[in-house]
């Protein structure tokens, strides 16, 4: 078991506010890592470090190191296109483009590929939709607007759109928070399926979800990574008092 992502002394400031404090963690390959913690603890911020989405915000300063496959992607010379192809993100609200289902999935290919063939695109659509277990459901309506799908289908489509660009790492920012319990269960099932091919980091405010799907869990509080370890251990025998307080529902 190797670490896909390693953070060393990671600090992040929004202006003068220190949102991440000395975060040190190793994210294992082909496992699901959950990051939990109360609102505003910095878990989403941490997630957005890994694909440099924080770059979009003015006044953000990041120090320390984040190694992905051994290379520090915080360095200015990092090619963001390559990084973001490798480290993709699923957002809280399902957000397909107002295009057809088909065009949503091939968006990345159209952007990145030099030569595009219809057969190539067809193949990508089929493979990606099969990977998210959506193919049989919607294979006959690929040219319909994606916005007509159900919420769960939309979120699956967003995952399909993402894996169509062949990333290594999937960052999931509360991917089930808009879904009902059944849909959530199915998406969690999908995540377990996907971890064979991808390294998954999921931010969630839902502790049961973290306990159900993740292999490793990190607990964050006020920008600090308080505890990080096997999910089983974190939930049954937390080493830190604050972790215990949180998972037993004493605050958050």
């Amino acid at each position: 078991m190797t670490d896909k992502i390693i953070t060393k002394n990671l600090d992040l400031w929004y202006g003068t506010f220190r949102a991440l404090k000395n975060v040190n963690a190793g994210i294992a390959e082909h496992r699901i890592t959950a990051v939990i913690g109360p609102s505003g603890c910095g878990k989403s911020t941490l997630l957005r470090v890994f694909n440099r989405m924080n770059d979009l915000i003015d006044g953000v300063r990041v120090t320390g190191e984040v190694l992905i496959d051994g290379a520090d992607m915080l360095l200015p010379r990092t090619d963001l296109v390559t990084l973001r192809k490798k480290v993709g993100m699923v957002f809280q609200r399902p957000n397909p483009f107002p295009l057809s289902i088909y065009e949503n999935i091939v968006f990345g290919e159209r952007i990145h590929a030099g030569r595009i063939t219809r057969d190539g695109l067809d193949e990508i659509v089929e493979r990606s939709l099969k990977d998210v277990l959506l193919w049989d459901e919607i294979k006959d309506r690929l040219n319909e607007p994606a916005l007509r799908l159900s919420l769960e289908q939309k979120q699956r489509l967003c995952i399909a759109r993402l894996i169509a660009v062949r990333p290594d790492v999937l960052l999931m920012d509360e991917p089930c928070s808009t879904l009902d319990p059944q849909a959530t269960a199915r998406v969690e099932e999908l995540m377990r399926e996907l971890k064979n091919k991808y390294t998954i980091i999921i931010v969630t405010h839902n502790m049961q979800q973290a306990a159900r799907v993740s292999d490793d869990t990190g607990f964050m509080l006020l920008g600090e990574l308080i505890e990080f370890g096997r999910t089983e251990q974190v939930f049954t025998a937390p080493r830190d008092r604050r972790t215990e307080d949180y998972i037993t529902g004493r605050y958050g």
Binding site: M53, K85, F91, N95, P98
Partner: protein, 282 residues
């Protein structure tokens, strides 16, 4: 004790009244002009040159001149306005320069059209030696409608949800690819609407073309962009005040043609906006 429901009813009544008062002048203008102008409208009126010192014949050169001017204005104003809007909405940071530019745009929109006319005369007609010509007139009108195009395009671009940009960037698209493939296509209806509204404004203005292009009487069509041209609003002014004994129905007929041209453009803008609003659901 005051009865809040009665107060509310009175308030509603005045709100409704004010709203209805807006409709009245529009209705009156249309009704009067149609009533008085419609008898003048026939094929000859639309396709013939003015005759007998503009007291008879048609207004074809003025229609063509207006169409040329409006087309020219949009050729200049749309690319510049759109590019500026993209810069302002997607790239500019909130700093002194940006605030200065935005202030300039607001002020440009507030400049009286006669001042644009004088400006066009000084810059295009005299300084660049384009003379009184379609080119000078189009450029002047183009500058005049730039603020409309920039403002509406910017609004259209900014109304595209941030989440679309975020996803696009997170999939590895560059900023420009995001604008090109995601933001622009979703903003096109709004941009088109603004452009057409700008066109309508350009078609109706008299002062800017008075200084820069409009011919009093030109019984032929302009041959090049360096030619003078007749235009509907100025022609209307001429036959209403400068030429004695023009039949009323010719004046109202001219006004009707101009009004219909502008209303038609606005109608197209409304239809486009309506169609696209039905299509998008985010």
């Amino acid at each position: 004790m005051r009865n809040p429901y009665r107060t509310q009813r009175i308030a509603f009544f005045f709100l409704l009244l004010a709203t209805l008062l807006i409709v009245v002048p529009v209705g009156l203008i249309v009704v009067i002009i149609v009533q008085k102008g419609l008898p003048a409208i026939n094929w000859q009126f639309l396709s013939d040159i003015p005759r007998h010192g503009m007291r008879a014949g048609g207004i074809f050169p003025a229609i063509v001149g207006t169409i040329y001017l409006v087309t020219g204005a949009i050729i200049f104003a749309l690319p510049i306005g759109l590019l500026a809007a993209i810069y302002l909405s997607e790239y500019s940071k909130d700093n002194f320069l940006t605030r200065l530019i935005k202030l300039a745009i607001v002020n440009l929109a507030g400049v009286p059209s006669v001042v644009f006319g004088l400006f066009g005369l000084a810059l295009f007609v005299v300084f660049f030696k384009f003379g009184a010509s379609i080119l000078s007139g189009s450029l002047t009108l183009g500058i005049m409608i730039l603020p409309v195009i920039i403002t509406t395009s910017r609004e259209a671009l900014e109304s595209v949800p941030y989440s679309f940009r975020e996803v696009s960037l997170s999939l590895g698209a560059s900023k420009w690819q995001t604008i090109r493939h995601i933001v622009l296509p979703n903003a096109i209806p709004g941009i088109l609407t603004g452009t057409i509204l700008g066109l309508g404004r350009a078609a109706g203005e008299t002062a800017p073309i008075l200084f820069t292009v409009a011919a009093f009487y030109l019984p032929r069509l302009p041959a090049s962009v360096f030619d003078q041209a007749m235009a509907l609003p100025y022609h209307l002014y001429v036959i209403s005040t400068q030429v004695p004994n023009v039949d009323e129905k010719i004046r109202y007929g001219t006004a009707l043609v101009l009004l219909m041209l502008v209303l038609m453009m606005n109608l197209i803008a409304i239809v486009i906006r309506y169609k696209f609003r039905k299509m998008k659901k985010w």
